[in-house]
């Protein structure tokens, strides 16, 4: 189980770190074994930052991330390597994930060098073969090629195969299909869903709500570094409570019905720290005199369904 406990990330920007940017603000959640959680938000919402913190690629400003009770910030050397044996990531741009001067299958060789130097090469090749087949690739077609000779979908599957070689428990999938063509997208998505049935937990980071709905049990809506709503996907998609979630869902281009008229304002987002509700400027219900001037806490509205909205609290007072 992976737990995030009030993690925050503050970026120092400007020369000599003059300004501060709160990218993630006290986010807490947990991912149980074998669970797929969608982390949904627009660009700049901090969703990728959370993924990178879990992968140890950027430092955590405050808060702790624990894998099975162990604080990952304390991991070093062998322990850290062991962590990467269990926790892996796949990134958005399949082409950028490969070093263009080397063949794509070099990522497997690295895994062997770093984690399994004791396995014999024949045996290792067999393992590669079977994990490639597991992700629906024909080894003969894809091995020994340069990244630019493979398609985006193939490259992303390669990365999933890499994670399989490591026998991971937890996968951070950061917008992994947003750069793929519609025709191959769904296959990669299906693959993730299959991994889940093998007992893997997945943090599925996306800006596309329909994709989040397709594979995950729970969804988290992130806005400007903070969680505004969290619950089972059905709860969040069919009974959105936060105005931002409502606006997002209304904005999704769907194939079954035309856009509804829920207007979100096109106001510029800005990034400085503010004490009030993060969604204040764009919110249709915001009211200066009410509690919107304070940051609303994440409260449980119904079983397992959390929302952070003063308006909601106001309307449902006493319920």
């Amino acid at each position: 189980m992976l737990e995030l406990d009030k993690i925050s990330k503050v970026y120092k920007t400007g020369t000599f770190g003059g300004k501060k940017l709160l990218a993630v603000n006290k986010v807490s959640f947990e991912v149980k074994d074998g669970e797929v959680i969608s982390l949904i938000g627009e660009s700049g919402s901090g969703k990728s930052t959370i993924g990178k913190m879990i992968l140890g690629l950027i430092s955590i400003t405050s808060g702790t991330i624990r894998l099975n009770g162990v604080d990952i910030a304390t991991l070093k050397g062998g322990a850290l390597k062991n962590y990467y044996r269990n926790v892996q990531g796949i990134f958005q741009d399949p082409f950028s994930s490969y070093n263009p001067v080397f063949k794509a299958d070099r990522i497997f060789r690295i895994i062997r060098e770093e984690f399994f130097p004791e396995i014999k090469i024949d045996e290792w090749n067999k393992k590669i073969d079977s994990s490639l087949r597991a992700v629906g690739l024909n080894p003969n077609e894809v091995l020994n090629k340069f990244p630019h000779q493979l398609s985006g979908g193939q490259l992303q599957r390669f990365l999933i195969a890499r994670a399989l070689l490591l026998d991971v428990q937890f996968l951070v999938a950061d917008e992994i299909i947003s750069m793929l063509d519609a025709s191959t997208r769904i296959d990669v998505l299906n693959l993730l869903a299959e991994l889940k049935s093998r007992g893997l937990s997945i943090l599925f980071i996306t800006h596309d709500l329909s994709l989040g709905y397709y594979i995950s049990e729970r969804a988290m809506i992130l806005y400007r570094g903070g969680v505004v709503e969290m619950g089972s996907t059905e709860q969040v998609y069919y009974h959105p409570l936060h105005p931002y979630t409502k606006m997002l869902i209304a904005s999704v281009p769907r194939l079954d019905k035309k856009w509804e008229e829920v207007e979100g304002k096109l106001k510029a987002k800005h990034s400085e720290l503010s004490t009030g509700c993060v969604y204040y400027e764009r919110c249709l219900f915001a009211d200066k005199d009410k509690d919107c001037a304070k940051r609303p806490p994440l409260i449980e509205a119904e079983s397992g369904h959390f929302v952070a909205c003063s308006h909601y609290m106001e309307v449902n007072k006493g319920v």
Partner: protein, 330 residues
């Protein structure tokens, strides 16, 4: 923007501090006793030598603790006291330098500015114009690869010796007295033209090539393509590209200053032109430490000031610095 300035200023001050420290360190920590070397070179008779020895020992402050020597050095600098020259004994170094500086300024400023303007204009004009790119630009490569002194020697040889049109040496005729008369100015310009041309030509080549390479990138930038898609005339597209390409060239100017100074130095040597460069040569040949230290200090100050001016200019012409400074990343 304010932050940008403070940062720059900090770096300049630090640079100045380090440069002065180097200036102070070297005669003290290089092998050999500089005072001995000095006196050996000066070859005075015994009594004078003794007097000189005690004078220089005091001047270097060699009998004081190091930190005190260092402190005194700074104090002296701020009092404009750079010691006494040996080469031109007993003139104070500061006086000699101040006499030489105007020659430098009138030689360097026009050659740098004019070559920069002309080179950039020409480079932009030649870029993506096939025949110019293939014929004239190679000349630019040769020019920028030419050692300053060699071009100076060539010009001197051809235009002063083979065809004696211009004078080969000095900043004015020896008989001429420094004055603000037209005759003097004419004579001065007459002597000025060869050193100026040799500096100008070498730099011109460099700027032309730099601009040519820069503008080719800009013409492939998205904003250039958009202009083309909107049917903007070639002239406008190129003008926009030029405006963007000129920014790195301004930075380039700052980066090149040190090399340009070196070029000016050797050019002055070739033409016996009485600027700081010529002075340095004399100082080196006569092991005149105080004069070397003084000249070094002045070059540092000149380069720092020029750099600072370029920075200010850069802020004026690049809105990204004026508005953006920090912030948008991450």
């Amino acid at each position: 923007m304010k932050q940008y300035f403070t940062r720059k200023l900090f770096i300049y001050l630090l640079t100045f501090f380090i440069a002065v420290t180097i200036d102070w360190l070297i005669p003290r920590f290089m092998p050999g006793n500089p005072v001995q070397v000095l006196l050996a070179r000066a070859s005075l008779h015994a009594e004078a030598a003794k007097e000189m020895y005690s004078y220089y020992t005091k001047a270097f402050g060699l009998d004081l603790p190091l930190w005190k020597q260092y402190l005194n050095f700074w104090i002296a600098i701020f009092h404009g006291d750079l010691g006494t020259s040996i080469l031109l004994f007993p003139q104070p170094v500061i006086k000699i330098i101040i006499r030489a500086v105007p020659y430098d300024i009138f030689l360097l400023l026009p050659s740098i500015l004019l070559s920069w303007f002309a080179g950039n204009k020409f480079g932009a004009f030649a870029a993506r114009t096939k025949w110019l790119d293939n014929t004239v630009l190679p000349i630019g490569y040769i020019l920028t690869a030419t050692p300053y002194m060699w071009l100076a020697i060539l010009l001197g040889w051809v235009l002063a010796m083979v065809f004696p049109i211009f004078p080969l040496a000095y900043a004015s005729s020896p008989a001429m007295k420094l004055s603000f008369s037209w005759i003097f100015i004419g004579d001065y310009l007459w002597h000025w033209i060869l050193p100026f041309s040799s500096l100008f030509l070498v730099m011109f080549g460099g700027w032309a090539i730099g601009m040519r390479n820069m503008i080719i990138y800009e013409l492939e930038a998205d904003y250039s393509h958009y202009l083309e898609a909107l049917g903007a005339p070639r002239k406008l597209v190129r003008r926009y590209a030029f405006r963007n390409a000129i920014l790195p060239q301004v930075t380039g100017l700052a980066l090149q200053l040190g090399i340009i100074m070196a070029g000016a130095l050797v050019t002055e040597v070739v033409f016996s032109y009485p600027g700081i460069g010529y002075l340095i040569l004399g100082a080196i040949q006569n092991q005149d430490f105080f004069l070397i230290q003084g000249c070094f200090l002045f070059i540092i100050i000149e380069v720092l000031i020029a750099n600072f001016l370029i920075d200010v200019l850069y802020i004026i012409i690049d809105p990204r610095i004026r508005i953006g400074m920090g912030g948008k990343s991450a």
